[in-house]
């Protein structure tokens, strides 16, 4: 039975995390080489996925607060065939382990090319709204590094399917989850039924079809946009990217060719972000189909405020999303 979701930020998003752990549990049963490493992993698993703790206690390992060393440690284990999942608790800690991810893990498979089994490494991390260095968005940084996949599901079902792929497919995947996503607003259809098939990377999901506008979004903003669109019955295609690299430009450009209008809503700062990449791709592929200039909405260029009272200013507001969508369709 899944826990009910209290409304506080810290306890939201149980569903997505559950999707992830369900996938890990499922894969662990069939693949003895999957291990979980991270700061305080034992405790996290104890609370979030007691079934893993029960069945595979020896495959969970708590490591010290040394993110860089931990990721490299995991890379070391992968050299003899372990498929490590490294839990880097908060996205800010990823800066600490940037070197081991970008310099060591990302290069691993490239370097040993065809002489050895390509390695599978998953690095998990979370976004949330906490403060200047508590939960900041850094997903776009990793999309720039060759050798990394960047995954960001917006609902439990996707999370489960994508995590299964991450654990099967060789390569280094950064698997993010948005802790701000509210469990109570998760649709029944998006909940993890436990029989989800794996979802390949680089395949965006068209969550809603329409004819007059294409809205591209991911993670928390995908949920935000969806609720706005549902509320105001906007006639649009809503595309949830799910993976930032590889990026599913085919689905996007197909939709834009149909609607002629593009709006990208992202939770990150727009400058040099994923939205920029999407817009550039659309302009390259279907410039002639565009009837209006593309629009990007995103977080203001500002550090995340620590004050709870200011957290509401970080994501693009519902009213702004609605206004821009209507303006584009006018």
């Amino acid at each position: 039975v899944l826990p009910s979701a209290p409304s506080k930020i810290w306890f939201r998003n149980r569903f997505i995390r559950d999707g992830i752990y369900q996938a890990i549990y499922e894969k662990m049963k069939s693949d003895p080489s999957i291990y979980l490493f991270g700061e305080g992993s034992n405790m996290k698993v104890h609370f979030d996925a007691p079934y893993i703790e029960k069945d595979f206690p020896e495959r969970i390992m708590t490591l010290p607060i040394s993110e860089d060393g931990n990721t490299n440690f995991a890379v070391g284990t992968s050299l003899v065939g372990v498929k490590p999942i490294v839990d880097v608790i908060s996205s800010d800690f990823l800066f600490r382990t940037m070197d081991s991810i970008c310099n060591t893990a990302a290069k691993l498979n490239h370097v040993s090319a065809e002489i050895d089994e390509p390695k599978t490494i998953v690095i998990r991390s979370e976004f949330f709204l906490g403060g200047p260095t508590t939960g900041q968005r850094i997903e776009s940084l990793f999309t720039h590094i060759p050798g990394l996949n960047v995954i960001l599901p917006s609902n439990p079902r996707d999370a489960r399917g994508l995590m299964k792929t991450a654990l099967e497919q060789p390569g280094v995947s950064l698997f993010f989850e948005d802790r701000m996503i509210s469990d109570t607003e998760t649709k029944e259809a998006d909940k993890d039924t436990g029989v989800t098939d794996k979802i390949p990377f680089g395949l965006a999901k068209v969550r809603k079809t329409g004819s007059r506008l294409t809205i591209v979004s991911y993670a928390i903003t995908a949920r935000l946009v969806e609720s706005v669109v549902d509320e105001h019955e906007i006639d649009c295609d809503l595309i949830d990217l799910r993976s930032l690299y590889p990026l599913d430009l085919d689905t996007i450009s197909e939709s834009v060719s149909k609607t002629g209008r593009l709006m990208v809503v992202e939770p990150d700062v727009t400058f040099a972000g994923t939205g920029a990449e999407v817009c550039a791709g659309v302009v390259e592929r279907c410039f002639s189909d565009l009837r209006k200039p593309v629009v990007r909405l995103g977080a203001p260029r500002m550090v995340t405020p620590a004050s709870l009272g200011l957290h509401g200013n970080v994501l693009p507001p519902r009213s702004e999303i609605l206004r821009v969508a209507k303006e584009l369709m006018a």
Partner: protein, 679 residues
């Protein structure tokens, strides 16, 4: 297992391979490579001591480790040249080599990365593969300045992984000296912070490496705990052109059995060392001495002044600390009003008691002997003060003329000298003539003594730049003779300056150094300088040589300002350190081992080899161990008693193999450039 000769061959392979690749780098055929020269014993010894099934993870100087672990030559060479037939299909380059078939698991360009990765690998070997194999991680001492190394040590200790940490300590981080990145004396001390056991051994001594790694590997295997072996490769040496008195040759020309002057006089050279060096040497300049350039750890005999700090009194040196061996990096320049370090110029006692010079060996023909006998010239010359004076004068002004004798070039003013020469030569039974120059004020004294002239040329060297003082003067017990010799030399070459110095100029570096020691024996402090090219004149005559050296000293006991800080003691003279600075150098460096464990560089006493301050000289197996300080390969050659032919044969075989590998790799194609999709 592998024999010692195999290990030697492996080291030679690494050396030759790196040398060949260095050439390829210069030719632009290979990219930027990182070499391991002089540290071959560590990788080869450690890999030999490990089981073949043990794993290794290394740092960015990979060639040595891959050869040591047994990566096949041809694919390795192809990989280093970026060819598709390489061990990593040409994708790894030099610094990311990876060859799991021989359990060479990975190498990392970024310093420190290898430690946590090796910790993870060791954990997985134990807990995932459930093998009894261990993992050896090679890293440099400089890596311990990096957080990753510490995180790795921490995790390894906490998780009790079977990890053998091999620290290659060369006291260098790139080109940065140890004191700038490491506060502890050893890396082993740092391991204590993680409750990791550690030992420090001599990393250039391959049997020691093998033994230490075997012991450590056993501990790791049995207890499943990390263990650190620190391989000290600290290097002590001087540059090849450094003049060493004794045989009066550059140090690079010294051989076992040569004679070198040390703290206690002459001694035999028992070992010689050479190795490549690239980085910073330390230049130490003692007042009045020529600067010396030594590796930063090279121990130099020195002491520090103790200054009176009594209130109201002037700055006054009241004493000196006892003499100790100190590395130049620890030295403090002696500045006004402050305490600083002093170098030691020895005052030899002199142990040679030659009473007469035997010319028999210089007699070439029976006729010559007959002539000498009829003319009444002596075959055995009594070495008295007069003769010593003449010898001094000869060193200053004399030269040999074949089939005639020797000549002395003087000035017409120097009538006293002419008279004294006449007197001495007459006593010896030689005739002499005086030739006045028509164009200058010079006069030439021709002494008709062919046999003696041959002797002089033999003893004192021929040609101005090769003049030197033979041991029977330099170390003669009778100081009166020494004084007479110096007088003779000074009268010939020197002149008095207004400030009361006697100043001489010569083109022979050896002579300047020897004279300085002679003066020290007399209790005088000689100041030696190198002159600029423009000044290369000796008493108005231009000289052909490029460099000239000036030596000046004072006979009066009153000290000049510059001498104020020099102190004459019974057995040595202390001279303050004026300058300690770094100089970039890349090339070969050398060292000697001598009977009394010292030799002289720029007339200051330096230690012949490393032994820690306060420790007695004698360590067991010291000879071998000290030799290993220089070049592990030379050491093995010596230890295994390889003949020149054997060495040649081994190196030729290996060289051929390497050249063939390079040649065949050259013909191989580059790998395909496979890319990921842009989006």
């Amino acid at each position: 297992l592998t024999t010692e000769l195999d290990l030697y061959k492996r080291m030679v392979t690494i050396r030759i391979l790196e040398d060949e690749f260095q050439k390829l780098c210069l030719l632009g055929e290979a990219g930027d490579l990182h070499f391991n020269k002089g540290q071959e014993a560590i990788s080869v010894g450690a890999c030999a001591a490990l089981e073949p099934t043990d794993y290794i993870v290394t740092h960015h100087r990979t060639i040595a480790h891959s050869i040591a672990k047994g990566v096949p030559m041809r694919p390795l060479v192809a990989e280093l040249l970026g060819k598709s037939t390489g061990i990593n299909k040409g994708m790894a380059g030099e610094m990311h080599l990876r060859f799991p078939p021989v359990r060479y698991m990975f190498s990392f360009q970024l310093v420190g990365t290898c430690v946590p990765v090796a910790a993870g690998l060791a954990w997985a070997v134990k807990n995932f593969l459930k093998e009894r194999n261990i993992v050896a991680c090679f890293f440099g001492d400089a890596a311990t300045g990096n957080g990753q190394a510490h995180e790795g040590l921490n995790i390894a200790a906490v998780r009790r992984v079977p990890l053998l940490l091999v620290c290659e300590n060369n006291g260098l981080a790139g080109n940065v000296r140890k004191e700038y990145y490491q506060p502890t004396k050893t890396v082993a001390e740092r391991a204590a912070g993680y409750a990791i056991e550690a030992t420090t051994i001599d990393g250039n001594h391959i049997p020691e490496v093998v033994e230490a790694v075997k012991t450590a590997a056993k501990v790791v295997r049995e207890t499943s705990r990390p263990y650190l072996v620190e391989m000290d490769t600290t290097r002590l040496c001087v540059r090849g052109e450094t003049l060493v008195l004794g045989d009066n040759l550059p140090i690079s020309a010294y051989q076992v059995g040569s004679t070198a002057a040390g703290l206690h006089g002459l001694g035999k050279v028992t070992k010689t060392f050479r190795r490549p060096f690239s980085g910073k040497l330390t230049r130490v300049k003692g007042r009045g001495l020529m600067p010396m350039e030594v590796t930063p750890e090279h121990p130099i005999l020195s002491c520090r002044s103790i200054t009176s700090r009594a209130k109201g009194s002037n700055h006054r040196i009241v004493g000196f600390t006892p003499l100790v061996w100190k590395s130049p990096r620890e030295m403090v320049e002696k500045k006004m009003q402050k305490d600083g370090d002093y170098l030691v110029i020895p005052r030899f006692e002199g142990n040679i008691v030659t009473a007469e010079l035997d010319l028999t060996q210089f007699v070439r023909t029976a006729r010559g002997l007959h002539v000498m006998q009829t003319k009444g010239s002596k075959l055995k010359l009594e070495l008295n003060q007069e003769l010593a004076w003449l010898l001094g004068l000869y060193v200053a002004e004399g030269f040999k003329v074949a089939d005639e004798g020797f000549r002395l070039a003087l000035n017409q003013n120097e009538k006293d000298i002419v008279r004294r020469v006449q007197k001495v030569t007459k006593e010896l039974g030689y005739s002499m003539s005086i030739i006045k120059s028509k164009i200058s004020r010079g006069i030439t004294l021709r002494v008709y003594a062919t046999t003696l002239a041959r002797g002089l040329a033999e003893w004192f060297g021929q040609g101005a730049a090769k003049k030197n003082i033979p041991d029977f003067i330099l170390f003669h017990k009778n100081l009166q003779l020494v004084r007479a010799f110096v007088e003779g030399y000074a009268e010939g070459d020197g002149h008095r300056t207004k400030s009361g110095y006697i100043e001489t100029t010569t083109t022979s570096k050896v002579l300047v150094a020897q004279l300085q020691l002679l003066l020290a024996r007399l209790g005088y402090i000689g100041h030696a300088y190198t002159l600029d090219v423009d000044e290369s004149q000796i008493r108005g005559r231009r000289i052909a040589a490029r460099t000239a050296y000036r030596l000046r000293w004072r006979e009066s006991p009153t000290k000049s300002k510059r001498q104020a800080n020099q102190h004459v003691f019974k057995n040595y003279i202390l001279t303050p350190v004026d300058i300690v600075e770094d100089v970039e150098y890349s090339g070969e460096v050398f060292n000697l081992e001598t009977e009394d464990n010292t030799y002289l560089v720029s007339n200051a006493v330096v230690h012949n080899c490393w032994h820690k301050q306060g420790q007695p000289d004698a360590r067991p197996k010291e000879e071998l161990a000290e030799l290993a300080k220089r070049d592990p390969i030379l050491f093995e050659e010596e230890r295994l008693r390889l003949s020149a032919a054997q060495k040649q044969k081994i190196s030729d075989t290996i060289h051929t193999e390497i050249l063939e590998a390079i040649e065949s790799a050259r013909r191989e194609p580059f790998p395909k450039f496979v890319t990921q999709p842009q989006r």
